[in-house]
Structure formats: C-alpha cells, structure tokens
C-alpha cells in the first residue's frame, strides 16, 4: 500500500505482560518499526540477596505464574550445584515429569487460548466458544490434565511447594501415578484432535522466514528439557557455565527488558529452537505430528513456534507415560534429604516452555545468597522479535495489505514467540555522570 501507515498497538493483547508495537511508514517506506517492552522491572535478583538457600526457589518461582516450575528447577539446580548436592534418580524423574506437565500447561494455554483466535479469525477465546465450542472443550481438557500433573507432583498447580533443594518433601503414591498415567493416555487422543484443528487452519500462519540462530539445551540421550549442554544451530555445543558468553545481555532505550545476542545480531529460544536442535529425539507420536505439519529442521519461520509447541505437547505426554512406567517399575521411596551448607557458586539451566532459562547464584558459608542473576527466555527473544519485525514490516507494506491486516500480522508475530513479558523485565543498573 502506498498510503502512510501509523500503527501504535499500545499493550498488545493475548500475550503475558505489557508490550507495544510501533510502525510508522511514509510513501511505502518504513520510518520506524519497534517492539517496545513497557513493563516495570521487578527486582527479583535484588530481592533474593541475603535470603537463605532454602527460600530461593520459592521466591524465584514467583517470577512467573506460568513457568514457575521451570524457575523453581533452574533455581534448585543452581543451589545444588553451588553446594555440591546430588539428587536421586527418583527426584530427577519426578522433576522431569513436572516439567512435562508445565510444558503442556503453558503450550496449550498459548496455542489454545491466545493463538487459536487468530487462526479462527476472531478477537479472543470468548467468541471462539460460540463458533467452535468443541475445539475449546478439547483445549480445556488438555489444560486440565496438565494442571493435575503439576498439582500432583509439585503440590500446587503453579508455584511448587513440594520441590526443595535435594529432592521432594512429598511424593505421589503408586495409585496416584497409575491414575495419572490413565488420564494422560486418555487425553493423548484429545491432544491429537487439537493438532487436527490447528492443522485445518494452519494456512492462516504467515509464510515468513528469516534465518537466525537457535539456542536451547541439547543432550545425546533425550529431547533435552531438564538437563543438557547449551546447543546453538550456529556454533554447536557450549557448557551451561558459559551462559554469559552466550546471552551477552545488553540494553536498548525503548525496552525495560534486556536484549541478548550470540553469533548474530539476535537469536531465538523456545519450542521452535528446541525442535531445530533436538527433533531427532522426539517421541514417535510427536514426530508424526511434526510430519503432519511438514515441520522440518531447520525451520526459520517464527510463526511455526506454535506448531512446534503442539509437537512438544504430544512428546511431553508420551514421555510422561514412559517416566511413570519407570517410576512404577522401580517402586517409589520416601527419601531423606541432607544438605551440607557451604559457600559456593552454581548455575542452573533448564528449558522453560518459552526457552532456555538460567539462574546463577553465589552463596556465603552460611548459605545466604550474596549475588543472583537470572536470564529469562523472553529476554533472549526480544532482539529476534525486533529483527523479524524489521524484515516483515516492509514486506507487509508492499503486499497491498490494509493497515488493519499489517497490524494483525505484526501482532501475530509477537504472539508466536509466546512472550512472557513480565518475567523478562530487569533491573537496570545505571550510573549517571
């Protein structure tokens, strides 16, 4: 279109937190295009200083109301690494199971409630209930199962209370795990129905590609979510302890959240990054879902992040059944936790639903935190969103789109990243001259 465009989406809806989209063009040329994060910083890293090691995972899990389990686990891993605490195989399996639950919970919330309205051409999930009630019923069923999984393993749907340094204060019973397994088996079919519903509308996702770097955990023996080294599609493998040389955080004037860059001017984390790095390790059914969508590595279309999330939901369910079987075969055991408090420094990296997450703590000899740093997935995606927008906006302007269509496409781009904006806003340490 040749007309001048003035788009200002102040507080984009159907994302977590507050961000704005600005596009100004004159005579068909982009003058300004920006992804602005306007959410207030939240000071968590300062909040935990001088707090006891046993409190950190409880406090930092509050960074997010959606990926609180991933925050708790990154926190526990950092503390356990600092104090030389080894966890049992049973604890490891239960943590992996909880992380699967949270991944399903977060992804179905995103794909089902936040993205689906765009695919069905409606403004929100509310009109969707009127027009596609059956679809929403299935989405809610998957969401409910995920909530029950988190509830059972972590003692609460969000903000876990049973997970502590070294293990669990309460573990599920054999019967509870058998029931959970049956419910997962019963819901896999429903997840497949959700896949088919999205598949029928997938042509609504823009066919846009921009080559970028993808970063996430990777390991040889499984689709990495809880453990692994840091993988990059550009530079290969790196140790988690080198995370600062990967994230390279920096600040820009228009954002309260930091940006990150590694081998290029930006990189992407999240389900699509994990798929691009680890798709060969997906469960059989999840691979079938990827094939249905024609999703192959390396996929450079950020809009396909939502599809990668659907693939992961099925993987999470299938792998959960495997973990439950293994736990039941081994037999559950109430384990004693003993921590030798000491000074130390530890870094924990896990895959949160939105991508790789790092917690980095230093403790004094009494187990009090003296320094903390958290690098959040959405932080790492902001620069990539900005760079995508800089390429997408001129394309939209030359494609005879109306201003409303351009606005919707830019909104859908941000939404595809499933940004958790509140989590990503950081304390800015400034010194004035």
């Amino acid at each position: 279109m040749s007309e001048d465009v003035r788009i200002k989406v102040e507080h984009l809806t159907r994302v977590e937190g507050h961000g704005n989209i600005v596009l100004n063009s004159k005579n068909g040329r982009v003058e300004e295009v920006q992804w602005q994060v306007s959410e207030a910083p939240r000071f968590f890293e300062a909040m935990v200083v001088e707090r006891d090691y046993s409190e950190l995972s409880i406090i930092t899990s509050r960074i997010c109301g959606i990926c609180s389990i991933a925050h708790a686990f990154a926190s526990l891993k950092a503390t356990e690494s600092a104090m030389g605490v080894k966890i049992s195989d049973q604890t490891l399996m239960l943590r992996k199971l909880a992380l699967h639950g949270e991944n399903i919970q977060s992804h179905i919330l995103h794909v089902g409630y936040l993205v689906a309205p765009d695919l069905f051409g409606v403004g929100s999930v509310f009109p969707l209930i009127n027009t596609s009630k059956e679809a929403v019923v299935k989405i809610v069923k998957v969401h409910r199962l995920a909530n029950e999984m988190c509830d059972l393993i972590c003692g609460r749907t969000t903000h876990p209370i049973t997970t502590v340094v070294g293990g669990f204060t309460k573990i599920p019973t054999k019967k509870e795990l058998i029931d959970l397994k049956a419910r997962i088996e019963n819901t896999i079919k429903t997840a497949g129905d959700v896949v088919d519903i999205v598949l029928a509308n997938v042509d609504k996702l823009p066919k846009f590609t921009r080559e970028t770097e993808y970063i996430g955990l990777t390991c040889d023996d499984e689709y990495a979510l809880y453990d692994g080294v840091v993988g990059s599609t550009d530079t290969g493998k790196h140790e988690v302890n080198e995370y600062e040389s990967i994230t390279n955080e920096w600040v820009v004037p228009h954002s309260t959240a930091k940006y990150a860059k590694h081998n290029r001017e930006s990189y992407m984390v999240g389900a699509l990054a994990r798929f691009n790095l680890n798709s060969a390790k997906l469960s059989p059914l999840a691979k079938e879902v990827a094939d249905k969508f024609g999703l192959k590595t390396l996929c450079y279309n950020p809009f396909m992040n939502s599809v990668a999330q659907l693939v992961e939901i099925v993987h999470n369910m299938e792998d959960s059944i495997r973990i439950i079987d293994e736990l039941l075969n081994r037999g559950l055991e109430k384990e004693k936790i003993k921590i030798g408090v000491k000074a130390g420094h530890g870094i924990g990296g896990v895959e949160a639903p939105r991508g790789i997450l790092f917690h980095d703590y230093t403790y004094d000899k009494n187990g009090k935190c003296v320094k903390a740093n958290c690098v959040i997935p959405t932080n790492q995606n902001h620069a990539n969103i900005q760079k995508d927008m800089e390429l997408l906006a001129p394309m939209l302007l030359t494609n005879e789109k109306t201003e409303k269509e351009i606005e919707l496409n830019l909104e859908m781009l941000v939404r595809a990243y499933d940004p958790c904006i509140s989590c990503s806003t950081h304390y800015l340490n400034v010194k004035f001259v």
């Binding site: 159907r14 977590e16 937190g17 109301g65 929100s124 999930v125 009630k133 809610v140 409910r144 969000t158």
Partner: protein
C-alpha cells in the same frame, strides 16, 4: 450429594483486594461440613478448572458495589453478568466474571454460583487490608454465615 465449594479470590498485595482470601482463611477455622475451600489467588483462567469440580460455589471477593467500606452483599452471577461483546484476554487480565462466562459457555459451570462481596476501600499496592476492614472482619464473617443460612432457608441454595 451435591459438591459445594467456597473459593476466595483476590490479591493480598493490593490492600483490600485480599479480603476474599482472608475471609476464606477465617472460614477454614469454622468450615461447614462437606464443603471444600479453595484459595483461588488472583483467579485467572485456571479458575475454570476449580469451578468445574462443584455443583454449587460461593466466591468470596472484594466487590465495589458503591457501598460503605466493609458492607457486604451476596448475589448470583446472573444478577450482574452482562454481555459486553469483545473481551480483551491476557493471561494476567482475565477477570472473574469472564472466567465464569467461559465456564458457563463450556457447559461445565456449577448449577449455582454466588458471589459474597465485601466493599473495599483501598486497592493501593501494600500487604494487609485497611484498618476499617480489619475492624469489621468479625461482623463480615457473621454476615457471611447469616446470608448463607438465609439463602438455605429460602431454598435459593
């Protein structure tokens, strides 16, 4: 036997907005038999899963109905639920009535939902309710039991 739930909602970090949670904690000390109590926190979409468990739900919340601070009211959702058309939806901005609306449309909402509301005074960011509300908590609790009793007697329950 019908399943009855009492769900306290609100944000204890926003002054009087936390009164629903405080009330729920107080009711827990004199819990009516056969009733499940739930701390619904700041609500959000997850409440649809809690609502689906029950046949009858009483939600405790701070409600600005233009009364005096500490004044109480009990009402059915149908008394206030209006179709406002397009509703903005964010994970942090799903209000209680919208959640109930989704639950009803999905056909899994309890047969009856009542809201026991307490008129707040101060929603500013701080922990703890205002002095006026704190002083009225005993009376508010009595009014809760009275109103529930009256509703039972008039078969509204």
């Amino acid at each position: 036997m019908s399943k009855v739930g009492i769900i306290g909602v609100g944000n204890p970090l926003r002054g009087d907005d936390g009164v629903g949670i405080l009330l729920m904690e107080a009711i827990a000390k004199r819990k009516p038999e056969g009733v499940e109590l739930i701390d619904g926190g700041t609500g959000g979409i997850n409440l649809i899963h809690d609502l689906a468990k029950f046949d009858l739900v009483v939600i405790l919340d701070a409600v600005d109905f233009g009364g005096e601070c500490g004044e109480t009211c009990i009402f059915s959702v149908d008394d206030v639920l209006q179709d406002t058309g397009e509703i903005r939806f964010c994970t942090h901005e799903t209000d209680l009535l919208n959640v109930i609306k989704i639950s009803k449309k999905l056909g899994e909402s309890p047969d009856k939902i009542f809201i026991f509301g307490v008129q707040p005074k101060d929603f500013s960011p701080k922990m703890g309710i205002s002095r006026e509300l704190k002083q009225s908590m005993g009376r508010i609790l009595d009014e809760f039991y009275d109103k529930i009793k009256t509703m039972k007697e008039t078969s509204n329950f």
